[in-house]
């Protein structure tokens, strides 16, 4: 896929999500002009981008959507529910195409019908008859210009130019007389009229004249354009019109016919005030003195054509005179006085007889004498010579260009940078390794002191370590930050989801999103998307009631679903609350019993709170009928395992008739785990700090036995005690210190706390947990292993399984 297409893909998916979001907001605040404009802008951008590629179906639909939106934006069409539906449909279609493009580089050719249908549906919503694009042709039509009188300025055009033009016209080339009166303020619109005129396609000749007499110098405003341009251009009208497309009202085109160019007045040329552009006069004067038989042949050729033109007697006479004048001057400059006198004779003859024959005879003669090689000279040199004036400059420019292209620097600092996730993951792994390997340094310091007895060196190593430690931690933090994403990344899909589902179910739901800018690690956010969608589906399907039921219960017809995200210390808390019918513990209990998930005895002991937690049990589904929305055989157990996979916890509270609240707590990041190292029976174990509440030493005397199990009372709270040795089936008894106090690590488990009796506490370290592989993966009591700084392996306990 080309980089441009990849860029298009990335931007398109962003824009599509933006459109969906804005549409949802717009439904809540119909007619909000700023939202409407924003929405229009997004569709407009997407349409513009799609036009860069050959995706006609996509562009077609987007174009229709844009038109509809424009119509709604300007108030010509009212915004209806149907409007949102149609736009959403269209965007879904575009999204589908985008996915196909992403997969195959192009989409299948079978979308034409669908696109036409969508575009039609969109256009059908536009109520007023859309005004046709007022893209009028800027120039007068040729027919109009022919009706115009011959421009007086034509008389002042050098004859050689006219001849050259006439030759071209005779051969069927288009030729136009241009009058360009730039706007007086044109300089302030970035226009450069002179430059533009010089760039005119097929530019043959031009003249600049002041539009009004020049004022006194003191009154002259140099920023005021008081000039008019006259030009002759040998180019089709369309090309000229395109060249002057930005100033159609300032330019007039007039097609020049061959007759006009033959300057019938036969006036001799008098110098005119004004500055000529590309005057071809140098060819006329100096060209002849040089060996330029071609030019002469051409001149004669044109004179012959003039003589052959039809016209009334008066015009003809003037033409004879003009031709004779030209020919006589030719002879003069060639120094051929004999031929000159014969021209005069021929002219007199022609004038008296009213026929061009004598002059034509002279021409035939002269042709044979002066120009032995019949100069057909189809391409007049004059035409070519004019543009060449600028060509040296151009050539110079060109030669510089290649080196400049390579020297082109990237544009200024971008606001954001898109980086392949793999690169960041690599950084993340590397920093993880660094964090771990830096832990080797304190061991080194210890060895320096204990083994080699160099206390000084040990201290220096420790100082150095603290520096490296600080930098590594900052770096880790910085890399973590890169991976942080706001939860809005997944939250923004919800409005659409809720809208679609609630409409399907015929329920009224208002969705409230809180704390969308709360950030968490990308992986965590992403792993959260599916569980959250499942939860939302459940809430809408089973939780919230239909409007009729709600009204009957004295609730507002529209249910409320609140999804909030907050950060608490190093965890992200996500709460999904609905004000629906809640979960009835009795129903859950009955179901669980029917499904054989609990036995009768356990059922009797279950509290209501415990009962509703049963919905997290595998294979539990409360829906009376399986709908295509939520009950798809997988239940809340999938949600729970997804959350637990990223070291998250999930809690459920519900009150019948009032609603349900789900709390999901997630770590901010999952790459590096902080673990506390504890010692038991001379072995070390890691315990994730997420679970650790506190470490205490409890005198053996303070341990009591309640219901056959050891317990202690910590700040007025009963804490059950468990020996780690016992749990791991290690025979040794817990060791106490000199004061006969036992080391107790208080850990959080679910909603309760448990005291773990260990031999000793050690430090906390940052480790990268690697899951156990192969045969060891069956050991549930360990969540993973980690490499310590001294090269030893630390087993990290999975407390949920252990206790």
């Amino acid at each position: 896929m080309s980089p441009l297409l990849a860029q298009f893909q990335a931007e398109a998916s962003e824009v599509l999500e933006g459109i969906a979001l804005k549409l949802m907001q717009l439904e809540k605040q119909p007619g909000d002009p700023s939202l409407m404009n924003e929405l229009f802008r997004l569709v407009h951008t997407l349409k513009g981008n799609s036009g860069l590629f050959d995706f006609p179906e996509m562009t077609k639909v987007l174009h229709a959507a844009e038109d509809l939106m424009d119509s709604v934006r300007t108030g010509a069409t009212s915004q209806s529910q149907n409007f949102t539906d149609q736009i959403l449909d269209a965007m879904d279609f575009v999204g589908e195409l985008c996915r196909e493009i992403e997969a195959h580089g192009a989409y299948a050719p079978n979308h034409t019908a669908k696109s036409a249908q969508l575009a039609q549906a969109l256009r059908a919503l536009i109520s007023t008859d859309d005004e046709a694009d007022s893209n009028a042709t800027p120039a007068n039509s040729e027919a109009d210009s022919l009706a115009n009188p011959i421009p007086a300025e034509l008389a002042h055009v050098p004859r050689a130019v006219l001849d050259a033009a006439r030759l071209q016209v005779a051969e069927g080339a288009p030729c136009f007389w241009l009058t360009y009166k730039p706007d007086e303020a044109c300089f302030f619109q970035g226009d450069d009229p002179l430059f533009r005129v010089r760039q005119t396609p097929g530019h043959l000749w031009g003249k600049i004249v002041p539009t009004a007499p020049w004022p006194d110098l003191s009154a002259l405003d140099p920023f005021h354009c008081a000039l008019a341009f006259h030009s002759i251009a040998l180019a089709p009208l369309e090309e000229l019109a395109e060249h002057f497309q930005y100033m159609p009202d300032q330019v007039e085109f007039l097609a020049l016919s061959e007759a006009w160019l033959a300057h019938p007045e036969g006036q001799s040329i008098t110098p005119q005030p004004g500055l000529e552009l590309y005057s071809t006069s140098q060819v006329q004067t100096e060209g002849l003195s040089l060996e330029n038989s071609q030019y002469l042949a051409q001149l004669f050729h044109s004179q012959r054509q003039i003589l052959n033109l039809a016209g009334d007697a008066d015009t003809q006479r003037k033409r004879f005179q003009a031709v004779a004048d030209v020919l006589s001057k030719c002879c003069q400059s060639l120094g051929d006085t004999r031929a000159q006198s014969r021209v005069v004779e021929a002219c007199d003859e022609a004038l008296s007889s009213g026929s061009a024959a004598p002059l034509l005879a002279w021409l035939n003669d002269a042709n044979a004498i002066v120009v032995p090689k019949a100069g057909e000279a189809p391409t007049p040199g004059v035409v070519e010579s004019s543009p060449s004036e600028t060509s040296p400059l151009k050539a110079q420019d060109r030669s510089e260009e290649p080196s400049i292209v390579t020297a082109t620097t990237a544009s200024g600092p971008a606001k954001s940078l898109k980086v392949d996730q793999a690169k960041i993951d690599r950084l993340m792994n590397l920093i993880g390794e660094l964090v771990v390997s830096k832990n080797a340094i304190p061991y080194l310091a210890q060895r320096a002191e204990n083994q080699f007895g160099v206390r000084e060196l040990s201290r220096e190593i420790k100082t150095q370590y603290s520096v490296i430690n600080r930098i590594a931690e900052e770096m880790q933090d910085a890399i973590m930050q890169i991976r942080m994403l706001p939860v809005s990344f997944i939250f923004q899909r919800f409005p659409r989801l809720v809208r679609d589902i609630s409409r399907k179910l015929g329920k009224e739901v208002s969705l409230v999103l809180v704390g969308e800018d709360t950030e968490a690690d990308k992986n965590i956010i992403e792993s959260l998307a599916d569980p959250l969608i499942h939860i939302i589906r459940n809430s809408l399907d089973h939780g919230l009631e239909t409007p009729e039921v709600r009204k009957a219960q004295g609730k507002a017809a529209s249910g409320t679903l609140t999804i909030s995200a907050t950060q608490e210390a190093d965890r992200v808390l996500i709460e999904i609350t609905d004000d629906g019918k809640g979960i009835n513990p009795e129903v859950i209990k009955r179901k669980a019993y029917e499904k054989g998930l609990v036995d009768e005895e356990a059922l009797a002991r279950l509290t209501d709170l415990d009962a509703i937690q049963l919905i997290f049990a595998a294979g539990f589904s409360t829906a009376e009928t399986v709908s295509d929305l939520s009950g798809r055989g997988v239940g809340m157990d999938v949600v729970r395992s997804a959350v637990e996979r990223v070291n998250g916890t999930i809690q459920l509270e519900s009150e019948v008739g009032k609603g349900t609240r789900l709390r999901i707590s997630l770590p901010l990041s999952m790459a590096v785990t902080q673990v506390m190292i504890v010692e038991s029976d001379s072995q070390i174990f890691g315990i994730p700090m997420d679970h650790v509440v506190e470490t205490v030493r409890i005198p053996r005397a303070a341990i009591r036995t309640i219901k056959h199990s050891p317990t202690t009372i910590l700040r007025g709270r009963v804490v059950p005690l468990k020996s780690l040795n016992g749990l791991l089936q290690i025979a040794a008894a817990p060791k106490a210190n000199e004061q006969d106090e036992l080391a107790v690590l208080v850990v959080r488990l679910g909603t309760g706390v448990v005291g773990l009796i260990v031999d000793d506490f050690c430090e906390t370290v940052d480790v990268i947990q690697k899951p156990l592989l192969g045969i060891l993966s069956g050991l549930n009591v360990y969540s993973g292993s980690a490499l310590m700084g001294d090269g030893s392996v630390l087993m990290v306990l999975n407390l949920k399984e252990v206790i």
């Binding site: 860029q7 931007e11 970035g190 226009d191 760039q199 497309q245 620097t409």
Partner: protein, 124 residues
């Protein structure tokens, strides 16, 4: 000296497309994501020979940008082209009134773009 062209568009795709074409034509290209960014660039010393701006942009749209840019010293005579899919003449007139030199209609082909740029960039 190659000529510098400033592209103002909120779509990175559009910028990439135009930038590639112009760079192949030998121009130096700067870009900005909206009118405000572009204005800041112009205020901090960027002196482009031509500005091509989108009309519909967040923060500051093309119209407002042209108006503001024209008020900056040294930018009174710089050609500014608007780049838009809107073919309505009223928009063009509005842009011209605010000081735009001309317009390009999206999607603009590489050749057309270079042709128009040659028309308006003096000495290109």
């Amino acid at each position: 000296m190659s000529k510098t062209i400033l592209i103002v568009d909120d779509s990175a795709t559009m910028i990439m497309s135009i930038k590639t074409t112009l760079e192949m034509g030998g121009y130096k290209v700067e870009s900005a994501g909206d009118g405000l960014q572009a204005l800041n660039k112009l205020k901090t010393g960027l002196k482009p020979d031509l500005i091509i701006t989108d009309v519909n942009m967040p923060n500051m749209g093309g119209m407002e940008f042209i108006q503001n840019a024209r008020a900056l010293p040294g930018l009174r005579f710089t050609p500014i082209l608007t780049l838009t899919t809107e073919s309505h003449a009223s928009k063009r007139e509005e842009a011209k009134k605010l000081g735009a030199t001309g317009w390009l209609v999206k999607p603009v082909s590489g050749n057309d773009l270079l042709k128009v740029v040659k028309q308006v960039v003096p000495g290109a």
